[in-house]
């Protein structure tokens, strides 16, 4: 107990120096927690927006879709989708099932033709899928408003500008059918939509799924997109649906959302590496700042340490005091850092700050910090450990110290 008491009181010998060390630990902890919190927000936001705008949690494909190359459009599309959908809709964990077809073709206003790509989709289900992640310039309400008219089209904002198309105008959409022939339909423009990517906005179109099937003369769809009530259940449902498909003999293959979310994986990896690099820098700063404090303290107390050793204190007991000093700086700084980080993140989140768009994007993204206790404790523990480790260098000095030299130290 005396060694802990000594370690505690030693911190108050040079209050300013201890305060600086504490400030460095606090700064390190706050910076790291905010960086981690923002990284987690980006991860969470991108994951959920990817799931709720693109991939769903699971996707059901024809079993040959990834094994063989299609010679004609939708050659390996999904048949008997209605039966599979019924099976999926019966599962309580499934929130929504929807079908999609990918489209490529030419869009013309009579004077100008532009190559485009897009999707045939089910607007009402797409709207439910996207939920809180609806895109700007939401086109699905427009589709629902024209529910009785299947020959409608929504355009990317830049594509509409390129074709000088406005709501109510008719455009001709030409594409290849499933058998390889050409087919075209006149479609009424009912709205435009925006996207984070300007390139996508220049080429993207959406039409109702039934219209896409009519245009392509097929009853197939590219795939079924399945969303679940909880992302955490993805693996369990993957196994369950695979088992049902095997039992019923459906020629399908399932993909989990991470396999279909290339952009998400790249961004996640980028942020992981960035946060890792930042963490390493912060930890090194904290290590040297704390180490410096303890080293200075040991240098000033050399004669005192010599005295204690001459009284019969073992070097192990002396080192215990040093490590305790490090642990105290780390714990106190870590605790205050966690508290400050929590307050700062709450404050930042309340301001709804929007950061500048990333390169290639048209809209900024919010500066939000996700407060997860799951990483508060590891950060706290890491700073305590680093502060304790920072006592190693001063401890080495003590182990080499000769008592008579220490006693004559000025």
């Amino acid at each position: 107990m005396m060694f802990f008491k000594l370690g505690f009181r030693n911190l108050f010998r040079q209050k300013r120096r201890t305060a600086i060390s504490l400030a460095v630990v606090i700064f390190g902890a706050v910076s790291l927690l905010l960086a981690l919190g923002h990284s987690r927000y980006i991860d969470w936001g991108l994951r959920e927006s990817t799931i709720h705008s693109e991939t769903g949690h699971l996707q059901v494909f024809n079993a040959d879709y990834f094994r063989r190359e299609e010679k004609t459009v939708l050659e390996f599309g999904l048949e008997a989708q209605a039966e599979i959908r019924r099976e999926l809709d019966r599962m309580p964990e499934v929130s929504l099932v929807l079908a999609r077809i990918d489209l490529m073709g030419l869009l013309s206003n009579g004077d100008k033709s532009v190559a485009c790509m897009g999707q045939g989709l089910e607007p009402d289900r797409e709207m439910r899928l996207r939920g809180m992640f609806r895109m700007s310039g939401e086109p699905f309400n427009a589709f629902l408003a024209h529910r009785g008219d299947p020959y409608v089209i929504a355009l990317g904002r830049r594509l509409a500008e390129s074709l000088t198309a406005k709501d109510g105008d008719y455009l001709t959409f030409m594409t290849t059918t499933a058998s390889g022939a050409l087919n075209a339909l006149d479609l009424k423009v009912i709205g435009t939509f925006r996207s984070a990517s300007p390139d996508y906005e220049e080429r993207a179109v959406m039409i109702p799924l039934a219209t896409a099937q009519e245009l392509m003369r097929t009853s197939k769809v590219k795939n079924l997109v399945v969303t679940l009530k909880s992302t955490d259940r993805t693996d369990a449902l993957f196994d369950k649906i695979s088992e049902v498909a095997r039992r019923k003999g459906y020629p399908v293959v399932l993909k989990k959302w991470p396999e279909r979310a290339v952009y998400y994986k790249q961004v996640k990896q980028f942020y992981s590496e960035l946060t890792g690099f930042l963490s390493a820098i912060l930890i090194i700063i904290v290590f040297f700042a704390t180490s410096n404090t303890i080293m200075m303290s040991v240098a000033e107390r050399t004669r005192e340490i010599g005295t204690l050793l001459s009284l019969g204190t073992t070097r192990g007991q002396t080192l215990k005091t040093l490590f305790f000093e490090g642990a105290l700086i780390g714990s106190l700084g870590g605790l205050l850092g966690c508290a400050l980080a929590y307050g700062a993140s709450t404050l930042i989140n309340s301001f709804n700050i929007l950061l500048a768009p990333a390169p290639g994007m048209t809209t900024g993204y919010p500066l939000m910090i996700r407060n997860e206790m799951g990483f508060y404790f590891p950060v706290f523990a890491a700073f305590v450990a680093v502060a304790m480790l920072s006592a190693v260098l001063p401890a080495l000095r003590i182990t080499r110290l000769k008592i008579v030299d220490a006693l004559s130290h000025i």
Partner: protein
């Protein structure tokens, strides 16, 4: 007629030399010292600065090792052992009093005196009694909660003496214990040490070059240029 019995030595230095290396040259600090420290000693090491008094105290106190010869404590040769492994002997058998007092500034007087008992795992209740008794013996009963910085030099040295004797060591070593004190206080400190020597039965070995302090020693060992040149009993 039988000879008077001679007390057994607590410490025996046999042919001890200590040399220091200064760059490429070796400087002899002590040469061929043979000395017995007895259980009833109140011994003063006298000699001018640089005569080897502090070096000799360091060797007796097991905080330094001889370059040649051996140091025995209670019949055990300590020389082959490392200084780290002698921590137990220092803790149990030896008390130190320093010229600059060397109290721990962040601990109170009570805690400073209590410290050696904590090293010996003495129970808390017993520690309190022993500390209060020791501080009472040195006249600091009213200064328990003070920090060393709040005491005069004489009071700090009294606290240092209390810290040295509290663990009931066989021997207390004091390197120039009065050098940082005025002459009156210095004499009173020596009187206190002598009184404790009588009361507690502890051997005191201290160094000084002050003739008035040297005169208070019951046994005087004079050093010059690292050698014992004279031993007298007062």
């Amino acid at each position: 007629m039988a000879e008077p019995s001679v007390p057994k030595p607590i410490v025996r230095l046999a042919g001890v030399s200590r040399r220091y290396r200064l760059g490429k040259t070796e400087v002899p600090a002590l040469t061929d010292i043979n000395l017995d420290i007895r259980t009833d000693d109140f011994l003063v090491l006298a000699g001018p600065s640089g005569s080897g008094k502090t070096t000799l105290l360091n060797l007796i106190g097991l905080i330094d090792k001889p370059s040649a010869g051996s140091v025995w404590m209670n019949g055990e040769n300590t020389t082959p052992k490392s200084l780290n492994s002698l921590a137990g002997l220092r803790r149990d058998r030896i008390g130190y009093i320093f010229q600059t007092f060397n109290l721990v500034p962040v601990l109170s007087v009570f805690e400073n005196v209590e410290y050696p008992l904590i090293l010996k795992d003495v129970p808390r209740g017993e520690r309190r009694k022993l500390v209060e008794r020791a501080l009472d013996m040195v006249g600091l009963a009213g200064r328990l909660r003070h920090r060393p910085g709040e005491l005069s030099g004489g009071e700090q040295q009294r606290a240092s003496i209390a810290r040295a004797i509290i663990k009931k060591p066989r021997i207390v070593l004091a390197d120039e214990p009065t050098a940082n004190l005025d002459s009156g206080t210095g004499l009173r400190i020596l009187e206190l040490m002598r009184r404790l020597h009588g009361q507690e039965g502890v051997s005191f070995i201290f160094s000084s070059h002050d003739p008035r302090i040297i005169a208070m020693g019951l046994r005087v060992v004079r050093l010059q240029d690292g050698r014992i040149v004279d031993q007298t009993e007062n």
